[in-house]
Symmetry: C2
Subunit: 142 residues, 2 copies
DNA sequence: GTGCGTGCAAACGGTTTGCATGCCC
DNA sequence: GGGCATGCAAACCGTTTGCACGCAC
């Protein structure tokens, strides 16, 4: 998805919610689109500040939550009480492996797993809205 | 695993950590062993209170965290900021499907998925310590 | 008897919110 | 010009922690 498409997706989202396109919201979207990491709100906030954009922490939280609601951003919960966000169109769908020793985050993807979990949900009379699949791992000692 | 075995596992854990077996810790273990749900600390706390056991919220938090460390209990993070705990030997390993409409929690298990994720970790030079696999679902409309 | 455990309440930390002012539409 | 958005700081809420007293070993 091009940056232009994302912007219009964001504009549609705002319209749907009766919200306005402010320069703060734009700065936040820009920052997220041009970043591939898995970042906390505070990191996004700090980078915006470093870039000379004046946006408050509160606005980052508020905006990121809109972006999540409209599927532009994905929220990760790694079990340490701090939410991470990643840009959803930076690449295809994937899940995460987290190294408990280094904190490194490795992305993975398995069509097989996706199919099986769809099947399991269906067998139970459900359809999947979203899923979390995280492997907490450590390096294999040689 | 029988209740007796769990108790001795707990006693070993306490010994390893140089901790004492107090009546509060016992009450909490009892309550968890005889319960199959996915409960928050506060629910455990309330039930203990209802059962006439005097245990403080702080002690519930402290004990549950020991139980988790020693694999007697499993911690679930459902993304709402409140941790749930389930007794690990109530049944075999499983993951969770959460209905976003009712909050109902359905357990599921797939050997296939377990194998694939082990393989993926291994291919990346890691071994899995634990994993989280949650499907957020909604009922299929007929 | 000693030192960890407990209960209480206060602290913590990420996130949310109320309010007065500012700015998009 | 009207009303939502912003920024600030305070509130929030689940969880953790410091401290003084109590109990297991």
């Amino acid at each position: 998805m091009t940056d232009k498409k994302v912007l219009s997706k964001f504009q549609n989202a705002l319209k749907k919610e009766n919200l306005k396109l402010t320069k703060q919201r734009l700065s936040i979207l820009d920052n997220i689109v041009s970043n591939t990491g898995h970042r906390e709100c505070d990191e996004i906030y700090d980078q915006l500040k470093a870039d000379g954009k004046n946006v408050s922490r509160a606005t980052v939280y508020r905006t990121v939550s809109i972006l999540e609601k409209y599927g532009i951003v994905r929220k990760l919960e790694l079990g340490d009480g701090r939410a991470r966000y990643e840009y959803k169109y930076g690449q295809g769908h994937h899940d995460h492996m987290i190294c408990v020793e280094t904190g490194e985050i490795i992305e993975f993807m398995s069509d097989e797993i996706e199919e099986i979990q769809d099947k399991i949900a269906k067998e139970n009379g459900f359809e999947i809205i979203k899923h979390i699949h995280q492997l907490f791992v450590k390096p294999i000692k040689k």
